[in-house]
Subunit: 212 residues, 2 copies
């Protein structure tokens, strides 16, 4: 996933930062001002030592004897992850899933704004999803290029995912979140992450007692 194979901070650490940020945001919503590595760890099912070690990569954010100032830590983590700005995101696919993603209100306050929704289906192009008008995929590369869009989400059927990814990469997209249940190939300078609920379900059924 990492753009550089390694600068110095392990990618597995970077992957936990969003979880820390999410938990901290909830604590703040509950009106809390200060927390500890122990409390955070409890909430997340991660050891307190690991949380301290992870955070220490970015500087001494805590105070001995006291813990971590929540506002301060949120602010720092946001800067580290560069979500103290708003990233404009393109969604490809305006089916049930693409529509649900586009309508989801939870991106905005965490650093992302869905700014365009594309589809190839003439029946969908021009229709409205909340505020957006579904755009023709034929115009996608122009729009991505002229707006310097770096992030896209793929919500098309598996058969079309690779083809869509190719277009996105060619237009300059650097980070792809793929909801289609298929691995896609991209050049090394492009990151891909996957969301496939079935992968999680199958992981869990391994441990379940059979139904039959």
């Amino acid at each position: 996933m990492p753009l550089k194979p390694s600068n110095s901070i392990p990618d597995i650490v970077i992957g936990r930062l969003p979880l820390y940020l999410r938990a901290l945001t909830h604590l703040r919503q509950e009106g809390r001002d200060v927390t500890s590595s122990h409390e955070l760890g409890e909430k997340l099912g991660i050891s307190s030592a690991q949380i301290r070690k992870d955070l220490s990569h970015f500087g001494g954010f805590g105070k001995q004897g006291t813990g971590y100032q929540i506002d301060f830590l949120i602010d720092r983590l946001r800067k580290v992850m560069q979500v103290n700005q708003e990233w404009r995101v393109a969604v490809v696919g305006a089916g049930h899933l693409g529509s649900a993603i586009s309508r989801y209100r939870g991106f905005r306050d965490r650093g992302f704004r869905i700014a365009w929704v594309f589809d190839a289906d003439p029946a969908k192009i021009g229709t409205k999803i909340d505020d957006f008008i579904v755009q023709d995929v034929a115009n996608m590369q122009d729009i991505i290029r002229s707006n310097k869009v770096q992030i896209a989400m793929i919500a098309v059927p598996a058969e079309q995912a690779q083809q869509v990814a190719n277009l996105l990469v060619e237009a300059g997209v650097r980070a792809i979140l793929n909801y289609a249940p298929i691995n896609i190939n991209v050049p090394p300078h492009v990151m891909v992450q996957y969301i496939d609920p079935v992968v999680h379900l199958q992981h869990m059924t391994y441990y379940l007692l059979s139904d039959e």
Copy 2:
């Protein structure tokens, strides 16, 4: 995540099995009969040695000099993960996301069938989503208990996720896939996995060049 903290096969290995199964299924769809650890690894961005080692935990599935018989390996992996049966799954939340999940056709041939959709909103209860009628959450525990439902997906707002999880656990659910962007607490015999697109996006923005 694992039900038993450890039987002997590392959980990280179990987590990769669904990816192998998914890639194998695609290969078969392309008409292929045989593959190798090297080819699978290429597709998945995983080393061939790792794939061989992972698979070797479950027995010798391959043939030296030849590789892996795709049908055979699919069959074995399905059995290992217990997805050679159909698990009935409950969805809680019939908003945009819950509806999109419930309508998604991709569960069926991978071992899962959405069998019930619940919501608390009187405006939604009784409405149809494809074949289902949205059920009242008030009846959820009875339905889960009498049908011995072991798996549920949570697609409600973050504020209600814990409360829903409590009901599910109390009714006997053993595996939860939580789409709400919040950590939930469950007893140790219950597994939880999370789907939060923002976590993936924030992971990637760490490596991007700032937009501004």
